[in-house]
Symmetry: D2
Subunit: 337 residues, 4 copies
């Protein structure tokens, strides 16, 4: 059931240590300029290497197998393949018997009756998000009017994320963080009632990103402790501009033209170097678990661009749906030049 979208559709494939990961993108309008280089910047943001991130190195070159001709999208499905190179399958074989806390080892073993690919968590690996980032690049081209601003913040009041990452590395541990996405320039009108509310579509995508534990729009959880007179956003001009933005840019499930503001909580990476306890199914007893291999001290640093991509994909689908059902604006933004 690995597909998303009504008009702009994305399906992800691949396992961490298989031949490739990637995305099949359907419903991309024809005429968007698109080439392999367009993916490089976002793929680099997701790639490992910075402080707090795993030393696994992948060049992450995106190969376009279909749907692009003469450097323009054709309107037919775009298959994006990203070969895996730096794979070490042997690291993971033990975890079917001794499941890692926080991972899908136990649940996937049960759900798939032992047939799921254990290597690097298989299809449950964060590696699969490489395809999501690639699809996000196309989504952003469908939304040329939208400007994304994405930041990673500490989830601990009074400490910086840098301090926490240093502390986590020293502890042989990992640390969570907050990722905030602000989207400027959106038109009024994105979001379909009831079930395809703007928040619903984005939430569906964002909670699919591994390690996301929570999501809020605008005032978010703080709104649960506010009075209506504090939380409501007064409209102050004919464009729909509001004097504050407690709603995060969405009213009644429809974008209101103000900044879209959302925050997700990214949990600390489940794989940590320090010893943990788990249940050993081969011995029917508790056992100590040591996870060898490569770990991210703060996975949120690499999740940020993934979360931005998921946001862009949802907005692109809502934008095309809105164009199909309503005809307020008619100029084709991407075929102008």
């Amino acid at each position: 059931m690995n597909s998303f979208g009504r008009l702009f559709r994305v399906e992800l494939f691949g396992e961490s240590h298989g031949p490739a990961v990637g995305a099949l993108v359907d419903g991309c309008p024809p005429g968007l300029p698109l080439s392999a280089e367009d993916f490089e910047a976002d793929m680099a943001r997701r790639r490992a290497g910075a402080a707090g991130t795993t030393p696994r190195r992948e060049s992450d070159l995106v190969s376009i197998l279909s749907g692009v001709h003469a450097s323009f999208s054709t309107g037919s499905p775009i298959c994006l393949s990203i070969p895996n190179k730096d794979t070490r399958s042997a690291d993971y074989n033990q975890f079917h018997a001794l499941p890692r806390p926080g991972h899908a080892d136990f649940t996937s073993m049960k759900k798939y009756s032992g047939f799921s690919d254990p290597g690097g968590s298989g299809h449950f690996s964060g590696r699969v998000t490489a395809g999501l980032v690639a699809a996000g690049v196309i989504a952003k081209k469908i939304l040329p009017f939208a400007r994304f601003n994405t930041e990673v913040r500490s989830g601990v009041p009074g400490k910086t994320l840098d301090e926490l990452v240093v502390e986590a590395v020293a502890r042989e541990d990992s640390i969570g963080a907050i990722v905030e996405v602000v989207v400027r320039g959106l038109p009024v009108g994105l979001g379909e009632p009831f079930f395809d509310a703007c928040e619903s579509v984005l939430a569906h995508l964002l909670f699919a990103v591994p390690a996301v534990r929570a999501l809020e729009f605008g005032d978010g959880f703080a709104a649960a402790g506010m009075f209506g007179s504090e939380h409501n956003d007064p409209i102050i001009d004919a464009s729909g501009k509001t004097s504050k933005n407690g709603s995060g840019g969405i009213n009644g499930g429809i974008s209101n033209g103000n900044d879209l503001v959302l925050r997700v909580a990214v949990k600390p990476a489940s794989s940590i170097a320090r010893a943990q306890r788990s249940f050993d199914f081969s011995k029917n007893a508790m056992a100590e678990l040591i996870i060898e291999g490569r770990h991210d001290a703060c996975i949120a640093l690499r999740s940020a661009v993934v979360i931005e991509a998921a946001t862009a994909i949802g907005l692109a689908d809502l934008y095309l749906t809105d164009r199909g059902l309503y005809t307020r604006d008619v100029e084709n933004p991407w075929r102008k030049a």
Copy 2:
């Protein structure tokens, strides 16, 4: 785009002050005992009347138009209609020109080019959730092993919700709250990777509920400030039981057999009796806005059963999907030889 689900499908219809609201439920297996009385308890939980809720009175009798024969589901679509009785359309005509803060008045006017029904917020009214609650009753019957426990809590540390409701009424204002749902008894295995992760499906539904601003599973936002060694849940027996439940019962997007725990932030109702400011499109200037009529001081009190219903609907769809794709409990026909 008002439909949800893959196998268990729900579509809502109706406007606040139209002839009826309701739900069309498709994919209900045949043979479930079902009659009009089955809806009464949950409809009563949603209905107005308690302290802090609107005095609008609806009997909320659910009429079964199809899909049930001799008090059992037949397997064909179940149309549930809930007539509107206590309607006062005249209250709302002004809000196309002077949109209420926090409501969909401005966004729906723009998106639907002025054709949306203004009466009682039309299709954007919380009244539409009556159909969702009715569909939730059927979903719970599909999940006879699941026990739902749903609570409303204060969103303000140090104050009780009762105190806040009294304060809100005194201020001619409204107050937000937290709704927590715990589901016990779920099997391991609900949730499809990647995009139909258990959290994704539930989040899609929960953010469709009016007034929901935020959602978290397990440790939620707190996980953003935790170390991995603190957040990870060690598995302690062969059933997959964990010694703590930071993940809220889901790993890798798949239910792990422990309690499913989620919390949503419900914003304070946007309609308040005290005066507010908004932009008057007829005068092209700011103006004072007084919302006459009936208001909820704490809409979360009535949203709780709606949120529980949304949770049940998502789980029912995941349960049926899991039955279709995997055959743990029955013989696997293609794995025999």
Copy 3:
């Protein structure tokens, strides 16, 4: 699984002898003029009464429960309910034990484990197509440029349909026929490759209509015996006009601007007054079966408007999808006046 469509979505509900049949129509753009009277003409075409049709009388008044305000569509789901009045449930109770040839009695009993509604074939009744006809009325409003011409013809070379109907009535039997739909005025471009080819979308809908056994576009089955030089349609001007229309107005799954031409074979009604043989499950032996009650001698006479409606629904969905994904034509046809 009783729903169809990507943007223009239709879901049918109801049983022959239940309280009502109807349709829930989602994705209707706002601003279409719509009132109960708009349904009358097509509902009358479907209604019984002409020579060769059943004497069951239904007024078939369409009640609009939602989605229409001040005689315009609002953009929210339109629930259309058509109450059943002339019901005679007792006629049908025997057929669970002694299934009627050609009907769904046996298959529905098995699939739904005996829980399906037997009355008048329940959800398998042709009565359910009343909702489809109503949805078709809305679809045609979405396609103001399209002109539908639908005809019923004899399926026997050398005999007229009138002759055959007389003969069928005399035999206490029923007779099949051909229904041809021609749609003029369609734009170039409706149909999505690969799986949502124009023919695929229409075929999906048309084979859902009870009693349809076959479907062909343009030359249809005759094309299987033609040379390419005979079947190919030369383009003769810059609008894409072809000198003949062997393709039925579709190339590569996309409408080409010429007339869309399709024909379906409607089988003879399965219910006939003359005695038949079937297997009596209560006696575990063959038995004679007499079907009392009301029968259509030529169901195709009433199916014609149903088939036209199905065609319109598919085209409306393809039209809105095309508008969403591509922006060649921008003027909103229904908001002009």
Copy 4:
């Protein structure tokens, strides 16, 4: 919109002269034995080479990029890639200006505003069906109880297909044919009312296959000229066996356990060596068109396995859906009490 299916989902990608064609298959249950060799037999049936087929030679080796581990399906999406090798893009560049009769040249140029890939008809090429055949191999594994028998027949009464192919080659022309698929061994119960009737799901897929002009089940078009007493199939035993099979194994949209019988008309290939006329958009006048390159004299010979694959895909999706929604073969959890 290039995807199909509810639980067993197939999406096709690729262009005739691009890097690869292929399929992304989602919803394949875990535990099916699967390796690259499994695809060889059906891919060979589709491949060129026999009398009447194009001399284009492709080895058609299927590369499994994901979803298979240790020669078993894992339950995650299976990406199948089939590289293109024998490509000759230059053959096709002229057809944007001088569209070939019967091809998508004109319609795709218009729909995609000139951005569609012209090489070998791009995504509109029959080459894309290689991915469908590969997906069909997996579908057949999901249906181990089903036996497919597929035959190609002449569409001209009194002539054999061999004679017609010889005649077509001599004429520098092409010839159509009939493909019949019979599926034995299906269980009772496949097919969902109303819109996902067994015939509807299969028709959707079959009309997506390039060159299909018509489709009939059982008696098909002949039923339009039959009396009900001739067309009805009497049930003769407790298994639902019928004494004849005019319905083609489907009643009320649900498989009845008898042979499923369908026939499609495959048009003559549009590309023929002999001269044709078309409209030259560069000269705004009619012109002679010569299609150089490789042609199939009878494309139906290669379409047969494609049509069989489409049938298998539809049945696999209906089978998994039926397992999800109904529990005839296992215990019904909600009917216990």
